[in-house]
Every structure is written in C-alpha cells, then in structure tokens.
C-alpha cells in the first residue's frame, strides 16, 4: 500500500503538495514563535518553565501568573490575530486587484481608521462626560474601526454601478479619497497638543503594547470570522487571476467574490488597525514570499499567509521589545525596517519572473 501511494504519479506543475507541507512547517514555526513570545519580556518568567511547573502540580508564583495572564497572553493573541489578519488581507487584495503590490490601504481602510483614531485622540476630550465614561479608553479603537468601515463603504459605493464593482475605479477613487481623508486628518492634527501628538505617532506606527483582553474580546471575533471565511474565496481569487470575464466564464459569481473579498478585508484590517495601529509591510511581504515558494494558488496561499503573518508579527514584536529595552519601539518601525529591504531584495532577485 505504501509503495502504491509513493509511486502515484504527481501532476507536473501542481504545487499543492508544496503548499500542504509548507502549511505544516509554518504551523510548527508558529507554535515555536508563540512559546518564545510568551517567554519574552521585561521579567524573567519562562513560559516553558511555568508549563512544566504546572504539569508537575507546582503552583506558579502569583506575580508570574499575573504577568503571564494579563500581559503576555493578550499580547501574544493580539499578535497572532493582527499578523494573520494583515497577511491574509494583503493576499486577498493582491488577488482582487491582480497586483502583487496591492494592500488593504487601497480600500481606504487604513486612511479611514487613521482619521477615526486621530479624531478620537484629539477631539475625544470634547465629548460629553456621560459618553466619555461609556466609551472610556475604548474610544480610539472603536473610532478607528468605524472610520475604516465608513471609508470602505463610501469607496465601494462610488465604484459600484448597476451591481458591478469596477476594480479600476476603486483603485483610483481610493487614491483620491485617501488624499482627502489625509487632509482632514492633518487639519485635526493641527489642533493637537504635545501629549496627543505623541499618542498619535505611537498609534500611527503600530504597537502591540496596548494589548488587553477587552480589546481582544472586541476585535478577536471579527478577525477570527474573517479568517475563517477567507479560504472560501480561494477558487474565486484563482479565477480572477485570468481577468473578470474569464472568471465568470469558468462559472464564478464574480461580483460575489469581489464583494466578499472587500468585506472580509475591511473587517480584518479595520479590526487589527483598531487594536494595534497601522502596521505596514506584513501584508505585502508575507504573501509575496509564499508565492515564490509554493506558487500563487490561493487554496494554500491564504492559509499559509495567516500562519506566516502571525509568526512574522510575533518576531517583529519581540525585536521591538528588546532593541531599546526597557523601552519599546513601535512595531511598525521594525516591520518597515526589516520588511522594506527584504522586499527590495526579493523584487530584485526575482525580476525576471515578476516582469514576465
């Protein structure tokens, strides 16, 4: 039996076995990264030691438990959710726009989220106390999430005529709208005081430092649902690679695929920007790297993007916590600092494949 299995001829050019093996490997990597991330921090608590102690029936120290449960675990989960969301969103936008350099920013999601967050930080103090008490410090993520959805729906409305969404219109209108939103944000920033400016800078570069169980409770289900639905779009995005007309001819409901891809991306990106700020490059570098290894077939690309995106963000977070310890760098600086040159290197060393 084993012999039969081994000698079964594999179709030349079918790279799904690479995708499958890669998924297993990336899952292992993610487990390792998660353990490392849990054991990494200002205090010397070790995750494995705590696990061993717990298995041996020894009660861990109170302070260790608190560090683990209320600081490191939420931070780990936030990193997992945000990393996976950014990478999967990137892969889906690249498939939808048929461009390896596309990212969720094209949907106006990031600009809208920024405007929401900036408004909350600068203008939040002017809210009536009753509302301010209700929203509390959740105001920034909630405003960011709302901003991302308003921007995305406006853009979707502009680009959709008679039930058909024009991806080209969306791309151009997205640029125009992002510029307008940036101007509006600038106007608000103009009134900000020094402390607000510091908050803004930190937010705009992204960070997992504010991770908490409440934020996870708000953003987690949104991101988890978006991630769970994304594999359903794999065949649709593969078909779209041939162009919209051909995708319809092979039997796809093109408009449904487009709408679903836009909604899922807006949900995942909006939620992750809301809890971790704007973190760049993960959405471009991760899917790109995976395409080079196992090809552009979305059936594995989306799953593997989630796994590698999560690992990447955890790694970047560990660097951001270590490099200027005991202080922390915004994680967006790390992803851009490492991601930028890496991306250039990938581009230059694969120019032939990309240009063709």
């Amino acid at each position: 039996m084993a012999m039969l299995e081994a000698t079964r001829v594999r179709l030349a050019g079918d790279r799904s076995h690479i995708g499958r093996r890669l998924a297993a490997l990336l899952f292992l990597l993610l487990v390792v990264m998660s353990l490392l991330s849990l054991g990494h921090g200002a205090s010397g608590v070790s995750a494995t030691q705590m696990l061993l102690d717990w298995l041996a029936g020894r009660e861990p120290a109170q302070v260790d438990r608190i560090i683990m449960y209320s600081i490191r675990l939420p931070r780990l989960l936030t990193g997992l959710l945000v990393g996976a969301a950014l990478a999967v969103s990137g892969a889906m936008m690249q498939g939808l726009f048929r461009n390896p350099l596309a990212d969720p920013g094209l949907l106006g999601v990031s600009a809208g989220a920024s405007l929401g967050a900036i408004s909350a930080i600068v203008l939040g103090g002017a809210l009536p106390p009753a509302i301010a008490v209700l929203t509390g410090w959740h105001l920034v993520p909630i405003a960011a999430f709302a901003g991302s959805w308003v921007a995305m729906f406006t853009l979707y409305g502009i680009a959709t005529r008679q039930g058909r969404t024009s991806v080209a219109t969306m791309l151009l209108a997205g640029i125009a709208m992002s510029a307008m939103i940036a101007a509006l944000s600038g106007l608000i920033i103009y009134r900000a005081d020094d402390q607000q400016l510091r908050d803004l800078t930190f937010w705009s570069l992204g960070s997992l430092a504010g991770a908490s169980w409440t934020k996870i409770a708000v953003a987690g289900p949104v991101i988890a649902l978006a991630l769970a639905l994304s594999p359903l779009l794999a065949r649709g995005l593969n078909g779209l690679a041939l162009g919209e007309a051909a995708a319809a001819h092979v039997g796809l409901h093109v408009q449904r695929v487009k709408t679903a891809a836009i909604l899922i991306t807006a949900a995942a990106t909006g939620a992750s920007v809301a809890i971790a700020g704007a973190i760049g490059f993960v959405g471009i570098v991760v899917p790109h790297l995976l395409r080079l290894i196992s090809g552009p077939d979305h059936r594995w690309l989306l799953v593997n993007s989630a796994l590698l995106g999560a690992s990447t963000l955890l790694a970047a977070d560990m660097v951001s916590r270590t490099i200027v310890a005991p202080a922390e760098l915004p994680i967006g600086i790390i992803t851009a600092l490492i991601g930028g040159p890496f991306f250039l290197w990938v581009l230059l060393s694969n120019r032939r494949v990309l240009d063709a």
């Binding site: 179709l11 050019g13 001819h249 552009p296």
Partner: protein, 266 residues
Amino acid sequence: MSLIARDIRLKLGRSQILHGLDLTAQAGRLTAIIGPNGSGKTSLLRALTREYLPDSGSITLNGRDIAGLRPEVLATTRAVLPQHTVLSFPFTAAEIIRIGLTAQVDSGRDRLIEAALAKVGLPGYGGRLYQELSGGEQQRVQLARVLVQVWHPVGRGGPCWLFLDEPVSSLDIAHQISVMELAADYARQGGGVVAVMHDLNLTAMFADHVLLMRDGRSLAEGPPAEVLTDNLLSTAYGCRLRVNHTPPGGVWILPQAVAVGMAERV
C-alpha cells in the same frame, strides 16, 4: 440543439456596436464569424457569452435563454477562449488549466489536465511557468483550460459549446491547422463551436457555417461556398477580392497545402 441569437443590439459608451444581429449556430458544426477589423465580431462573441449584456434581443443556448442561467450552470455547457489573457501571478500551465475545472464538482482530475495539454500539442508542459511560455504556447495553454471545462462534446444536458475568439491568431501555420482540426473534431463529435476568425483560408477549410459582418450588421450568413464570394467579400472588406484565383507568379502558400493529419504530428 443550437445557439440562436435574435436581433442583438449593443451600445458601448456612445457608439452603437451591433445593429440587430441574428445568428444561428448548430451543434455539430463549426460556425465562423468573419469580417473586417472593427466590424463587431468580438463584441458579438462577448454578447453571446454574456460578457457584454445586449441592450435588446434574445440569446438561447440549447433552447434555454442564457440570461436566466447562473454562471456555474452556464460554465458546464460552454467555455470561452478570449483573444488574449494577461496573467497577474506566476501560475504554472497545469495550475492555469485547473482553473478551467472550477465549475466541476470533482476538480481534482489531474489526468484530464495532462490529456488536454497533450491535445493542444504541449505534452509535459504542466510544470512550465505560464509567463515563460511563448505567445503561441500561452494561447494553447488557455485552449487546454477551455477544453477541460467542457471536455465531452456532448454532455448529460445536451451538446457543449466552445466559443473561440481568434483561436489561431498567434500560432504558426502547423499549429493553426492542428488547433482548427481540434475545433472541427469537437464539432464532428456533436459539440458546438463558434469561432471569430481572421484567416479566410482557414475559414474556408474548416467552417461549416459562416457569418460575415460589417459595421455591426450581418452581410451574409450561410455555408462557406455561399458567403465566401467575390462580391460579398469585396463589399465587406472594402477592397477587391477574388476567390479561387491563383496569382500568376511569385511565391504563395496556402494552408490548404498542409498535409491533412497535421495534428498527429504535433
């Protein structure tokens, strides 16, 4: 079973592209749409495949109005080869062809992919990156993708259809013949084929039924012998054309001279 288009009118932007066109294509025949550049051949094909939605007129395929058919149902009855496909990501030939199986319940049919590659004269090309293939090879990979989508010329729900937009435009003469033979074969086995053609000789050789267009209108429709005449062709193309007229000297090559059975060689 047939494809019947009646009074198709199509406007793109401000210009009227199709002015009330009729076409009747039978399964079991190769129907060619010919005419000069800009006569509306491709637009008609796109209207027939619902890529463009006509402003008026009706199109029925195997007796059913295509306007009421869902894409996944339509996809199991007919496949469409576009003139040109620009690919956004580095897929292999095999991965491209697999996309043709999207509407099939069981999309893991690897053997079909290999058979289709062999059929278009590209055996063993499955692992090649699409972008690294020549224009003609790319076109044949797309043809293989179209073939796996409606592999059996006659399916459970009646005949299947191939819609081909200039299927041989980027091919050398040997592959032009073999691809046309493949299409004619599909029709001979009971399937329907509708092809936009540029080459009048190949049309004369392989078509069973011809629609001659000019300025978005039908000039003539019928068997090649009736449509490919001096008068009709001269009117359509706006220059003096004579059929079956051999030049007095010089070098000239006709596809008719290629040995029949070319497909087996490649």
